[in-house]
Point group: C2
Chain length 344, copies 2
DNA sequence: CTGAAAGCGCTAACAT
DNA sequence: ATGTTAGCGCTTTCAG
């Protein structure tokens, strides 16, 4: 048996497809008799009818589909975010995930492609500078984890600044003065901000920070990288590694272990995102909780507002530092030489 | 500027939309002059044109869209699988992820809904018994991690039987005789098979296995559960917990730690899937590698075959046991009383 | 309360 | 080599 269409249902009931559409979408308030309604529902059930979302999208001014663009759904940050988003949007909207195909990120082309479809809304998670530059909003759009200020485009952001400051101060309190920041090689404001805020706070506190980068936020890449550099870091007096993403920190943990460097005794390690798995690592990871799920939910609510009222406020969701075992007191000559700065 | 349609492009170039369609889809082999082709490409670029996938799907007999249904994209098993799938399918097909909305799983309704769309293929990951019962293939369909034998529906499976046997034998070799199997409360063949194979092997080896379940494969749920039961398990002579999914094992690790039970000294813990994070846990998790990514890739290839030749073979991908630190020698009276069985 | 008709943007026969 | 036409399945005015 082929898939039933609204026509099939209409034929069976003996009514127009208009009635089918109205009833199936629950828009039959005093426009379809209860009797007809019941018969339609019966037929829908009997024929196993479900509306074709493509046709619906094409025809309707309210396609009730929103697209989420994210760099890589394998990063649990984005899958949590997606979950939060659907929490806020289901069942009125269905959410379509689109991931990047260009080196684990999405570019302007992916955005264009998505925008060519008829959708109710568009959500861009961690958009790159290239995406932002070429972005021409074509309908309700929400940005997540982006500092861009585009007229009519609300943003939902974690408090990167506050969290990064907390992290830097945490490290300073532990006596860390020589820090390596392991960035991900991506032109994104969020990473720029994480890095510069920490650098500023560290510098103010009398520390120094050097920046290094890995190509992508991926455990294996970071593992190789850290394994090659861990001993070097320790040898040159570096006592802490701040990673731009928890996945990178996971790699550093693995790489350090492979290189025989003890965390946190010889090297403190921290990340960003507080993924679910960060409580499980060995040692458990000190990280910044951006609350991906809540960010997704907030974005969903914001999109709803935007769709329904045409307006929406920006939201900043609170972040918080989660201190676990991967950061500890800095044990270096420098730290020992200035014990007065050590308030743990 | 509104989103450009093929008509806009055609108008600008001064040709028909047919030509646009042909060129944009690269189906212009001796059907469009190089000159026209070039002008079309220019206009496409100038107008930032991208075809509307909904319209394309509706109109075309080759919509080049495939849908992947999976229970919960937050389980890294499925996001890896998705990644493997797109590896095999891109850029010829775009893959749409559909996740469950019924208690973190998808049901027959979700399948129907997806089938109502015009797609080139459908991939069902870890389908439940309910889904399988009511499944009426409507086009190329591939099942992943499912024992169902439906005519014309190829399956891509991990070698559950082999892997589960290996795991059971591993535990027996370590001296474990009293084992708790922590299942996920889902009617799925894959879980049934994991459980029964291990039970059979354990029983044959002189052990006993009791089954318990958590509602869903989720770290937090399993943590609470394990925290409440860990001491009880140890007290009653249970020396090993086999979890139906790595996520559950993560929870058990956390719960055991919270309850003050040492892994693996007092309790060995193992899982299924060998997620990327299983190498990172404390202690690192002994688990069965089903190679989600390869499964996804194989499913993609299978779907391609199915689409192109109408036929496709079932594939079984090799699994392997990954022994790490979370399983160790059983230290109980029973084990000590029969030291002869202890070959580590 | 109900139906007829006109598209949404695209592709696929069928002309030319 | 190119254009014309007729839908894909649905929603949406607009009449009744």
């Amino acid at each position: 048996m082929a898939i039933a269409t609204a026509q099939d249902v209409a034929r069976r009931v003996g009514c127009s497809t208009t009635a089918i559409s109205l009833v199936v979408n629950g828009r039959d308030a005093g426009r379809v008799s209860p009797e007809l309604r019941a018969r339609i529902l019966d037929a829908v059930d009997a024929l196993n009818y479900a509306p074709n979302a493509q046709a619906q999208g094409l025809a309707s001014s309210h396609p009730n589909q929103v697209s989420l663009l994210c760099p890589d759904i394998r990063n649990p940050f984005f899958s949590e975010l997606f979950h939060g988003l659907t929490d806020a949007l289901a069942p009125d909207f269905s959410v379509n995930i689109v991931v990047g195909t260009e080196n684990f990120d999405y570019g302007p082309a992916a955005v264009r492609q998505v925008q060519a479809n008829k959708i109710s809304g568009l959500i861009l998670a961690s958009p790159s500078a290239r995406v932002l530059e070429s972005l021409r909003p074509a309908g309700p759009t929400v940005l997540i984890d982006s500092l861009a200020v585009l007229p009519g485009v609300p943003t939902v952001n974690p408090d990167v600044r506050g969290a990064a400051t907390d992290l830097a101060e945490h490290l300073l309190r532990l006596g860390h003065r020589q820090v390596v920041y392991l960035d991900v090689d991506r032109a994104k404001e969020t990473f720029h901000l994480r890095r510069t805020v920490i650098n500023a706070a560290l510098t103010t506190g009398g520390g120094t920070m050097t920046v290094d980068r890995v190509r992508v936020a991926d455990i294996a890449t970071a593992t190789d990288y850290a394994e090659a550099h861990a001993r070097g870091w320790v040898a040159t007096g570096v006592t802490a590694i701040v990673c731009a993403d928890d996945l990178i920190a996971y790699g550093v943990l693995l790489g350090a272990a492979a290189a025989g460097v003890n965390v946190p005794a010889q090297l403190s390690v921290s990340g960003f995102n507080d993924l679910q798995f960060s409580a499980l690592t060995n040692p458990a990871l000190t990280t910044v909780d951006f609350n991906a799920r809540a960010l997704g939910t907030a974005a969903g609510r914001t999109l709803r507002e935007r769709v329904e009222t045409g307006q929406a406020d920006n939201v900043i969701w609170r972040s918080r530092l989660v201190v676990r075992a991967s950061t500890g007191v800095a044990l270096t000559h420098a730290a020992l030489a200035t014990p007065g700065t050590l308030h743990v």
